[in-house]
């Protein structure tokens, strides 16, 4: 049994053979293929289904899923509950009518597992009944009845597992635990793990992809108590928790879906401080690191909250685990994130509680509705500010050009802000309160988001405590480089006139190779720690953040800016023109806050410094930096020091989020040739990691491109 690495480091063995075998099977698609056998339940037998209201239809979906989804208990599993319908993997509620899926589902949120652990689902049911009482005979009553019906369905599914587990002595522990959780509060570490898993599995079974959040904060107190009372050993706890990770691989099926099969937003956040400012890091933190180090499971991307004062033990463990590659671990600089969230209007306690949406956009877990709207700033520059290079627009100075660009960005963000208006009913009286439009039903996730049950509003209808709509700027490095190139070539060095430059770009650099080579080789672009261009990137981000803020508070929404491309630099390629920074039409350009491919010459420290020159705390949705390392850079104990150094520097300089990956492109090329030998080879794609062989060719090439020039 071997679990992949990006180098010749041998993964340690701490878990028992049964657990390792279970992991091996699960990673090698055994349960994912089983999940694909049944894609959905059918609602065809329901009389006059078409005549039902959307929320009535939704309740039918959930009830049928609970009744009919296959029960799966895997050999040797220590915790039970499985999301066994194939359409859930496709982000759909897995119920069809007339062969067609009825509803889509929800992702980009981390639900409230804390309430499930402490009060149980019965506690939530009590809240539903109380709220029903308060909202009787109002428009909100129907949603609350749906809440009640969904809890009943959850209970039904729970009952089916209890029955299945009761048949054999070997499932005794699983059965006993499920008698208590998740409906009643967890009392032990083992119950707590089962409680989170069972709830998570049901939410996923219904098609949703929630994140996990701060698992060490959730589970730490239970483990501490069990260890103190001597009812559990650390190695036994590691086994139990490992099954949580292994069960999370039950959707691995090897299907090509473009951006990879591992992206179900099951993000975990480790470490950091709690609402009172006390350190969260505990034995569970280290158990999680042990497990992913040993099994290389990449399906739960893990983000560790670090700060200038994070202790050496944690940083060293993080670095040790990162060395194997796979892009599983990323880091937040929590000092800056907390500051950013406070600036965005959260209380200090709430800010300190941050986790993410399942990717890396930060949020208060279990309380936040989140959506983001990406746009390409490079296209804004090319199409709007520079008028598509048609020669109709001339700028006399760089400052004039930048001022227009800033105005164009304002316009673009304004378009995003006005789309917000679409969530609300039209109103004639400007002083009247905003009223949410009825949205697609989504009761299952609403049950686990604070605010929804209390207010009687769903997750999509303003129910959660916080509602966040974040414009995300993309193409940052490229737009900064493009502006810088025009500044240098046209205004500073006057190598050609503005109109000549436009003509050259319009012709896609045809016949202008000397100038293009000059631009490519003689200008220092973003990512090389060069103040002249980094200051442009910083200026863009600062202005963008201010622009977002100017639209905020229109209707109680948080409207923080963020920086991302995720994989969109691929789809934007066809819409982008030739670029002033020496790039021809059709080239794949920069990801997230990373440099334009093949433009960084100074190494990882320079990239981090360029990135950190921006005032990143103004962008409360977050800004991600990808850092690619070669296996040779990080081998041995010296390699651990190197990664620790990078993380410390990132935190000291004021970074937000960094996702380092250790990649050997020779191995990636080999995996393209012989995918069968590299089924589990994982790479960081963006906010997620994916099994490389499940990316389609375009995505694979992009990942290789991003890694090749180092």
């Amino acid at each position: 049994m071997e679990f992949y690495t990006q180098n010749n480091l041998v993964r340690p063995v701490r878990l028992c053979e049964t657990t390792r075998g279970f992991a091996y099977d699960s990673l090698n698609r055994k349960y994912g293929l089983d999940t694909l056998r049944v894609s959905s339940v059918s609602l065809d037998s329901i009389d006059r289904f078409e005549n039902l209201s959307p929320i009535e239809k939704y309740d039918c979906c959930i009830q049928y899923i609970a009744m009919q989804a296959p029960i799966r208990i895997c050999a040797g599993e220590r915790i039970s509950g499985s999301a066994t319908l194939g359409n859930s993997i496709h982000h759909l509620v897995p119920a069809t009518y007339g062969g067609k899926p009825v509803f889509g589902s929800i992702s980009h949120l981390t639900v409230d597992f804390e309430t499930v652990l402490k009060r149980g689902v019965f506690g939530i049911r009590d809240d539903v009944l109380a709220s029903l009482e308060r909202h009787k005979n109002t428009s909100r009553e129907r949603f609350l009845r749906s809440c009640h019906a969904c809890i009943e369905a959850f209970s039904l599914w729970h009952g089916r597992y209890l029955q299945a587990l009761s048949t054999e002595e070997k499932w005794k522990d699983n059965y006993q635990n499920l008698l208590q959780v998740p409906f009643k509060p967890a009392r032990t570490f083992y119950e707590a793990v089962q409680s989170i898993w069972f709830t998570f599995a049901f939410i996923r079974l219904c098609g949703n992809w929630p994140g996990i959040g701060r698992i060490d904060q959730l589970l730490g107190p239970y483990l501490k108590r069990d260890l103190e009372q001597g009812t559990l050993t650390l190695s036994e706890a590691r086994e139990i928790l490992a099954h949580f990770f292994i069960k999370g691989c039950e959707w691995i099926n090897g299907q090509f879906i473009g951006s990879g099969d591992a992206q179900h937003y099951q993000n975990i956040v480790l470490g950091g401080i709690d609402a009172e400012g006390k350190t969260v890091t505990n034995e569970v933190t280290y158990l999680v690191l042990d497990i992913i180090e040993e099994l290389g499971i990449s399906d739960f991307p893990v983000s560790v909250r670090v700060s200038r004062t994070t202790d050496e033990r944690l940083l060293t463990r993080v670095a040790e685990v990162m060395r194997y590659g796979g892009g599983i671990l990323a880091v937040y600089n929590e000092d800056l994130v907390i500051e950013a969230m406070c600036e965005d209007g959260y209380s200090l306690e709430e800010a300190r509680s941050f986790a993410n949406d399942g990717c890396w956009e930060v949020q208060v877990p279990g309380k936040t509705y989140f959506i983001y709207s990406p746009f390409d700033a490079l296209q804004v520059l090319q199409q709007r500010t520079l008028g598509g290079y048609e020669g109709n627009i001339i700028y006399k100075t760089y400052e004039d050009m930048y001022a227009q660009f800033k105005q164009d960005i304002t316009c673009r963000v304004g378009e995003i802000a006005s789309a917000l208006r679409g969530y609300f009913e039209d109103k004639t009286d400007p002083d009247a309160p905003w009223v949410w439009k009825t949205q697609m039903p989504c009761t299952i996730v609403s049950l686990f988001e604070q605010g929804c049950v209390e207010q009687g509003l769903s997750y999509l209808e303003g129910g959660p405590v916080y509602n966040v709509h974040s414009p995300h700027i993309g193409g940052l490095a490229d737009v900064a480089n493009a502006l810088y190139a025009i500044k240098k070539i046209v205004f500073d060095e006057q190598r050609c006139t503005f109109l000549d430059y436009m003509r050259i770009l319009k012709n896609n650099w045809e016949g202008e190779e000397t100038l293009r080579q000059y631009v490519l080789h003689r200008l220092d672009f973003y990512g090389n720690d060069c103040d002249a261009v980094d200051s442009i990137a910083a200026q863009i981000l600062s202005d963008f953040a201010d622009i977002c803020r100017s639209f905020e508070q229109t209707h109680g929404y948080h409207f923080p800016g963020g920086v991302s491309t995720f994989g969109r630099q691929l789809e934007w390629t066809s819409k982008r023109l030739a670029s002033p920074h020496g790039r021809r039409k059709g080239e794949i350009l920069a990801a997230n806050c990373s440099p334009t491919p093949d433009s960084d010459r100074e190494g990882a420290t320079a990239i981090i410094r360029s990135y950190c020159k921006a005032d990143l705390k103004k962008l409360a949705s977050g800004s991600a930096l990808d850092v690619k390392l070669l296996p040779g850079n990080v081998s041995g104990s010296d390699g651990v020091q190197v990664i620790v150094g990078l993380i410390r520097g990132f935190a000291t300089l004021g970074g937000f989020f960094m996702q380092p990956d250790v990649v050997d492109t020779t191995i990636l090329r080999e995996a393209q040739q012989h995918p069968e030998n590299y089924q589990n080879l994982s790479v960081r794609v963006s906010g997620w990691n994916a099994r490389f062989v499940t990316l389609n060719k375009e995505w694979q090439e992009m990942v290789i491109l991003q890694n090749e020039h180092r």
Partner: protein
């Protein structure tokens, strides 16, 4: 040029991982008293600035054609008449692709310190600056430069060939956390044959530095057919045993990648595949040292 207030540098390499612990910035200094046949950084041998030309990068644009000495001609391929070149650097300044490149930039000491300190947040306890080259101690300014680095509380390392001025060595030791001390061959005759100088002075200086309390790691290049004899291996072991502050040996198996660099100077590729040592030779060297209780790493 006031030589003790400036340093002549060929390259500043950031995010270096193999020239000492932690994350380091390595500064390659120009000028070396040795001329090793296998030199991996031939552009650092001469103390003067030099024109490098990489034909792979040339796009034949002809921007360099205005040279007063007619160094550049296009027949139609770009040909560089090096014996006419005055090393003025004008062509390199015009070259769009940096196919033509001047090696050797002078920095004032504070300038160079600031460049090294850019990565201060990443150095932590262990990381810092490594001076390499060329021979760092061939330039007097290194003493003052390292004093500046030490006052910024970063780790300092010097990779030296050991063929150095005694006075400079004495002055620099207090500011160097450790030396990576090259001992290319313990056989004096061979040393002279392949590097141009005898090893006597180098070994004397090493022992003197050791008495001054300088921490060292020996860096021993291993070249098949040159120094792959067991006498040399045990001599290295014995040398380490005589030193009080030597922490061990790094074995550097010769590789031929550096050879192409000499073509950029208009010389023949000095890389020789037959010089690459076998794994057995490397193991033998390492085993000999280990049997003598000498800590050894293979880089």
């Amino acid at each position: 040029m006031n030589t003790d207030k400036q340093l002549h540098v060929t390259e500043i390499q950031r995010f270096c991982m193999h020239d000492g612990p932690g994350i380091r910035t390595t500064v390659f200094l120009k000028g070396c008293p040795l001329s090793c046949a296998w030199c991996h950084n031939p552009e650092t041998q001469s103390a003067q600035s030099e024109l490098l030309y990489d034909e792979k990068l040339c796009i034949g644009c002809g921007k360099c054609g205005d040279c007063s000495q007619k160094v550049h001609s296009f027949l139609p391929e770009h040909y560089v008449k090096r014996d006419h070149c005055l090393q003025c650097g004008l062509c390199a300044a015009l070259c769009p692709t940096q196919a033509l490149f001047m090696s050797g930039i002078s920095y004032t000491l504070p300038e160079l310190r600031d460049l090294v300190l850019r990565d201060l947040p990443f150095y932590g306890r262990d990381g810092g600056v490594t001076l390499s080259g060329g021979e760092p101690l061939a330039q007097e300014g290194t003493v003052e430069f390292l004093r500046l680095c030490k006052s910024a509380e970063i780790s300092t390392a010097v990779e030296t060939c050991g063929y150095v001025n005694l006075k400079i060595l004495e002055r620099i030791v207090p500011f160097v956390d450790f030396f990576l001390w090259d001992v290319k061959d313990t056989n004096s005759g061979r040393h002279k044959q392949y590097t141009g100088v005898s090893n006597k002075l180098i070994l004397d200086r090493l022992q003197y530095a050791d008495r001054l309390g300088a921490k060292t790691r020996l860096r021993c290049i291993l070249i098949n057919g040159v120094n792959t004899d067991t006498r040399h291996y045990s001599n290295i072991g014995a040398l380490v045993q005589r030193l009080v502050n030597c922490q061990g040996v790094d074995i550097l198996p010769y590789h031929a990648y550096g050879g192409r660099k000499s073509t950029l100077l208009g010389r023949r590729d000095n890389g020789k595949i037959e010089w690459i040592p076998t794994q057995d030779q490397i193991d033998c060297f390492a085993d000999t040292l280990q049997n003598m209780n000498v800590a050894v790493r293979c880089l």
